[in-house]
């Protein structure tokens, strides 16, 4: 025997509705079974609070006198897009400040607007008959705007991979700092409380569903960009009125050496129409799996180091490649719980009515990688193969001779089976010779060598050269065997020679 959304709304109106959070529902389904739980419970509230980069807001500033067509616009020095009529702009969460860089961005501007602070608007136009004014500089608060509507193209990932790093240096990512050599694991998502994990087939969720969005009542306006239901990575596009939001649930954030974003609090109420839906909302952290990816590899496809459940992630420690690694989240379970509790409270007080979606969300996968017609140049296409190497027990004198003979600046030092152990440069050798230092190569070589793989795109090699301020990288295969070298000269030739467009 099922219920309808209208029947549940009637219960909300007469105050007899039974609402629980998704975490509470897990225990209820366990004790009563899905059938019992469906009878007992009318609404399950979910919640998440995490960094959602694909967020932003449409702002309408009203017309100036004389009028201006805003062409370049900055709010607190953060650029907003103005290619829409005269005085509308879209400010995106990840746009960074022109004066403060990555520590302040669109996400912060949105937070400041929501908390009632004033922001500085600077804008210029080219001056036309309809819009003669060329410059405006003014201070505004959210009260001064006609509309301030949050529109987020991609929010509320059903689940997301966890991140770690096997490389030998800290990676500064949108998942926070990932320490070298499997130093930590960072995950995101609220697990059993996660909105889409509680209705993975979108039986009750779709276009038009009323939701909790940053403390206001917002709406799902469709599936999000990169919606990927087949991989349990569905997403939502949502909108809500910035003027009704609560700054406790909208926080601008900045990730060191990555950039800015916006923490969004989002909760979806799930009407328990039948026992199938009750069963779905009974999901526990132990049943939600995700993969741990290696962010040390700067490619689109990152190696999967293992599969874990949210229960394991939340335990504070997981095992990867035989090593105990500490875990922590970048999203906030504490605030996610507040979202689910606030939504529950609204429903109990009769302030929030449930909706039936006017159109469902697609369950077919549609995420494609970018088509790159320019082609992708790899290290192996550019490197010098079959270069000279040297053994660690060779004398410095002999090394000097080989460098002169071979006319190169870098000599990788390899073991008997050809594996990379170190590197010496002309500089190392001349210094040793000048100081009349005698001895073996291994005494003067650099042991911590930055290297690349033949299949890495050349842009990765260029970034490594720049980051470490060095001029060459040995190219090594999976067994660390040296198969070539790529130098900054090779790369600059490409740029100036126009070989790669």
């Amino acid at each position: 025997m099922g219920k309808t959304v209208e029947e549940i709304n009637q219960k909300i109106r007469d105050g007899s509705v039974h609402v629980v959070t998704a975490e509470e529902m897990t225990a209820i389904v366990e004790t009563l079974g899905p059938e019992g739980a469906a009878k007992e419970v009318d609404v399950v509230t979910t919640g998440t609070f995490g960094a959602m980069c694909s967020s932003g807001a449409i702002l309408n500033f009203g017309h100036a006198d004389p009028p201006i067509k805003m062409q370049k616009l900055r709010l607190n020095d953060v650029e907003a897009y103005t290619g829409l009529a005269a005085v509308d702009a879209y400010i995106g969460a990840t746009q960074v400040s022109e004066s403060r860089g990555m520590e302040y961005g669109g996400g912060h501007v949105i937070e400041e607007l929501v908390s009632g602070k004033s922001v500085v608007l600077r804008t210029t136009g080219s001056g036309t008959d309809c819009y003669p004014l060329k410059n405006v500089e003014t201070m505004l608060t959210i009260e001064d705007l006609n509309q301030a509507i949050m529109i987020n193209p991609r929010n509320a990932y059903q689940r997301y991979n966890a991140a770690t790093n096997t490389s030998d240096q800290t990676m500064h990512t949108y998942m926070g700092p990932l320490l070298p050599d499997l130093g930590n694991v960072i995950y995101t998502g609220s697990g059993a409380l996660s909105p889409l994990s509680n209705d993975p087939t979108y039986a009750t969720i779709g276009m038009g569903t009323r939701i909790f969005l940053c403390g206001a009542q917002g709406y799902i306006i469709g599936e999000g960009t990169q919606h990927d239901p087949k991989n349990n990575m569905g997403t939502l596009m949502v909108k809500g009125n910035l003027k009704e939001m609560n700054s406790e649930f909208v926080k601008g954030a900045s990730f060191h050496k990555y950039g800015t974003t916006l923490y969004v609090g989002l909760g979806i109420p799930i009407p328990i129409l039948n026992e199938d839906i009750a069963l779905c909302t009974g999901i526990s952290d132990a049943e939600i799996k995700t993969e741990v990816l290696d962010y040390g590899v700067q490619r689109r496809e990152k190696p999967v180091l293992g599969e874990v459940t949210y229960e394991e992630l939340k335990s504070g420690c997981i095992e990867i490649n035989g090593k105990e690694v500490r875990t922590s989240a970048i999203s906030s379970l504490y605030v996610a719980r507040k979202v689910a509790e606030s939504l529950k409270d609204w429903v109990l007080k009769g302030e929030f009515m449930l909706t039936t979606p006017i159109e469902g969300l697609s369950t077919k996968p549609r995420v494609k990688p970018m088509r790159q017609t320019g082609g992708l140049l790899l290290v192996k296409d550019v490197m010098t193969a079959g270069i000279g190497t040297i053994k660690p027990d060779i004398s410095i004198e002999e090394a000097a001779k080989r460098i002169i003979k071979g006319q190169f600046n870098h000599l990788p030092v390899v073991s008997d089976d050809g594996r990379l152990m170190g590197i010496i440069t002309t500089w190392d050798v001349s210094k040793a010779v000048a100081l009349a230092k005698r001895g073996r190569v291994e005494q003067i070589m650099t042991r911590k060598v930055v290297a690349v793989n033949p299949r890495d795109p050349i842009d990765i090699a260029a970034r490594k050269l720049e980051q470490h301020n060095i001029s060459a990288l040995p190219v090594i295969d999976a067994k660390r065997k040296v198969i070539g070298i790529i130098t900054s000269e090779d790369l600059s030739k490409l740029l100036t020679g126009g070989g790669h467009k």
């Binding site: 609070f49 960094a51 520590e103 926070g176 700092p177 320490l179 930590n184 694991v185 960072i186 926080k251 954030a253 900045s254 990730f255 060191h256 974003t261 923490y263 504070g316 500490r326 875990t327 922590s328 989240a329 970048i330 999203s331 906030s332 379970l333 504490y334 605030v335 996610a336 719980r337």
Partner: protein
């Protein structure tokens, strides 16, 4: 207790730490040391019960002392309780409570600074 020791360039060459340890018998642990031509700065950790005599002993040798009651401070209104700080801190200063909030145990902090840049909402600062 954490104590910052500030040396000027005149006394930096003397084995002051060894002298203080021998004099007080306290178990002094060095957490951080920065030394250059203008002088040096060390953060040490000493058992609370020995703190008084260690401070006195350093002072008598011309070392300036700053005690760190709270080596790391958090602006609670700015904390969104994500927990990024938890897995980057080498000394386990932070942890999740049962309600999901992030709590901290200042005493363990060695002022490495890792959490300061890691915090997405700029809630943490090292104190002096």
């Amino acid at each position: 207790m954490k104590i910052i020791l500030c040396f000027n360039s005149q006394i930096i060459k003397k084995p002051l730490i060894a002298e203080v340890i021998l004099e007080t018998g306290a178990l002094v642990n060095i957490n951080k040391a920065t030394i250059d031509i203008t002088g040096g700065e060390l953060i040490i950790n000493v058992p609370d019960e020995d703190a008084k005599k260690v401070i006195k002993s350093f002072k008598s040798r011309g070392v300036d002392i700053i005690t760190l009651e709270k080596p790391i401070v958090r602006t609670d209104e700015e904390c969104i309780h994500c927990g990024v700080c938890i897995s980057v801190c080498p000394t386990n200063v932070f942890r999740y409570e049962a309600d999901g909030s992030v709590s901290m145990d200042h005493k363990e902090c060695i002022q490495c600074g890792a959490c300061i840049t890691a915090c997405p909402h700029n809630a943490l600062k090292l104190s002096r």
